[in-house]
Symmetry: C2
Subunit: 321 residues, 2 copies
């Protein structure tokens, strides 16, 4: 499924582990939080809050990404983004990434260069450094990322804090990655906006700490899809959540794409994964920051309803199922 | 190469991602540094020093471990130990592990249970919690671990601080994992002491912070082999290191095993990897803590010599080569 590399390309086996590490780390700029970067037994990262927020995600070729659909740079950006979004969803500012990369000996070194370039780019967008990692040989290309973050004195916003009567709001793109997947699955490469959203998400990193400072009672990033992820908040908080479709923005671009493919744009918004937008609950409408969009409310009971009713289509994705 | 699982065993596909996560996390005890454990977007770990030490290692089935040589528990212990040793080698106390696990759909759930049990066991030995992770499907079994640690007010002990005239000392087992590998490679399963050392190392975790407090000028854990790892210190510090063989303890058990296999026990001690002992330089002999063994000195020049001469046999291991 991978495109043929150029015939003269160096493989990772030819460049070697230590050569690759040099290519990944040479000439990079670190943020001030990186007190000791790559090259020693471990990195040292500033944790001025006295607590560190940490999250790990693993991405596997042909499960989480395809190198015939996405450039290595996009894959790197996505691998970083899915993790950095988890940090933001706690209300923390990302500070650092650590990269574990396992790949076959015949992987072109340019693929590794591209993936790591994408990781550095996305880390820079979020304000984080790439502080360490490990590169090993494997039959399958696997990228494992750990992101660290700092809470800057705020309490972490967990999934279990939603209260009946809270307002539900979202920030960031919803349904775009699903639209991009639908386009790519049918063999198209455009429109670029939705295809790009599938290749690498654009989480609204600063909106996480912003929501925490505004008093958000629960927060999550939409990796599995809005309904599925709000379902995690509902379950953890012991409440129900109702989404009002008249409040739910469906971008005209998504409606265009859905209409061209005979698909349902609202279904993408409600259930599409991989956008890594933020969804949160707030004690009242006045607390919701300006760039967040109110979409519903927390109600007694359990589960997530849409306009007061259950939503029929399968809402999530589970590995090995 | 993997032994056949029992016919009635559940696979990870049957148990499912969320079921597996429940099995991994249910009923576990966390240390006080785990402020928020698994189950949310990210974990929160105490970092009282205001800095966090972080390291990632990736282990791949049939590259770093074999399930026909090691039980899943041993594999888990090893995966944790190699990372926790990196934290100790900076002079820090381990606080937390994050686990990325990628495995085929037909992997017996008991294998995942065993690996994670081993991770929890080794984390407990080091005083760390298992605070988060990710489980995904992959054609290859890959374990990616990130370890975090706290410096407790001490400066991190880097590889580049060795000074001419410093004393070189080690703490922990050396050559045991290599002896175990030699035994296993020849189809034997005993002696248990060396085979066990190959299956999972026993890094002397508290000796890292102890060396830092005693004024160690440089430190590393012996993952690639004593000469190779001291070579990393020599290169980073711009110095040479000389090992005196009359100071180098070669355990009688290793001499017995070597003699039975027609091998050289001292060669295992000098070059065997995967023991994750600690090697450090100290400003003088009086600074060396009691449980450390002086083995040589830092000299002008570069490289690592043994009794003043170069060591001929290939000293290290590099991936994809």
């Amino acid at each position: 499924m991978r495109p043929d590399p150029p015939q003269d390309a160096d493989t990772v086996a030819e460049v070697g582990e230590f050569g690759l590490i040099r290519r990944v780390t040479a000439g990079r700029t670190q943020p001030p939080t990186t007190l000791l970067g790559p090259g020693d037994d471990a990195a040292v990262v500033a944790a001025p809050d006295g607590r560190v927020v940490a999250s790990t995600d693993v991405l596997v070729e042909n499960v989480h990404f395809r190198l015939d659909w996405s450039s290595p740079e996009h894959v790197g950006r996505k691998a970083a983004a899915v993790n950095l979004a988890d940090i933001a969803a706690m209300g923390a500012m990302p500070t650092a990434l650590l990269i574990g990369l396992a790949c076959p000996a015949d992987t072109p070194a340019s693929v590794v260069d591209g993936i790591t370039a994408g990781l550095w780019q996305e880390a820079a967008v979020a304000g984080a450094g790439v502080v360490g990692g490990d590169m090993v040989s494997s039959e399958t290309l696997v990228i494992s990322i750990t992101a660290l973050g700092d809470l800057n004195g705020l309490e972490p916003v967990v999934r279990s804090g939603a209260q009946v009567g809270d307002i539900v709001a979202v920030c960031g793109k919803l349904g775009w990655a699903a639209a991009g997947l639908a386009v790519l699955s049918r063999g198209f490469r455009s429109p670029v906006a939705v295809v790009g959203a599938q290749r690498s998400p654009e989480p609204p990193y600063p909106s996480g700490p912003e929501a925490a400072a505004a008093g958000a009672t629960a927060m999550i990033d939409t990796s599995d899809g809005l309904l599925a992820d709000l379902g995690h908040i509902a379950t953890a908080s012991g409440v129900g959540i109702d989404i009002r479709t008249e409040l739910l923005e469906v971008h005209p671009r998504l409606i265009d794409v859905a209409s061209a493919l005979g698909a349902d744009a609202r279904h993408w918004v409600l259930t599409g994964g991989e956008d890594h937008a933020l969804a949160a609950t707030f004690p009242d409408a006045a607390a919701v920051p300006e760039d967040w969009q109110v979409i519903g409310a927390v109600r007694p009971g359990d589960g997530v309803t849409v306009d007061g009713r259950g939503y029929e289509k399968p809402p999530g994705w589970e590995h090995w199922r």
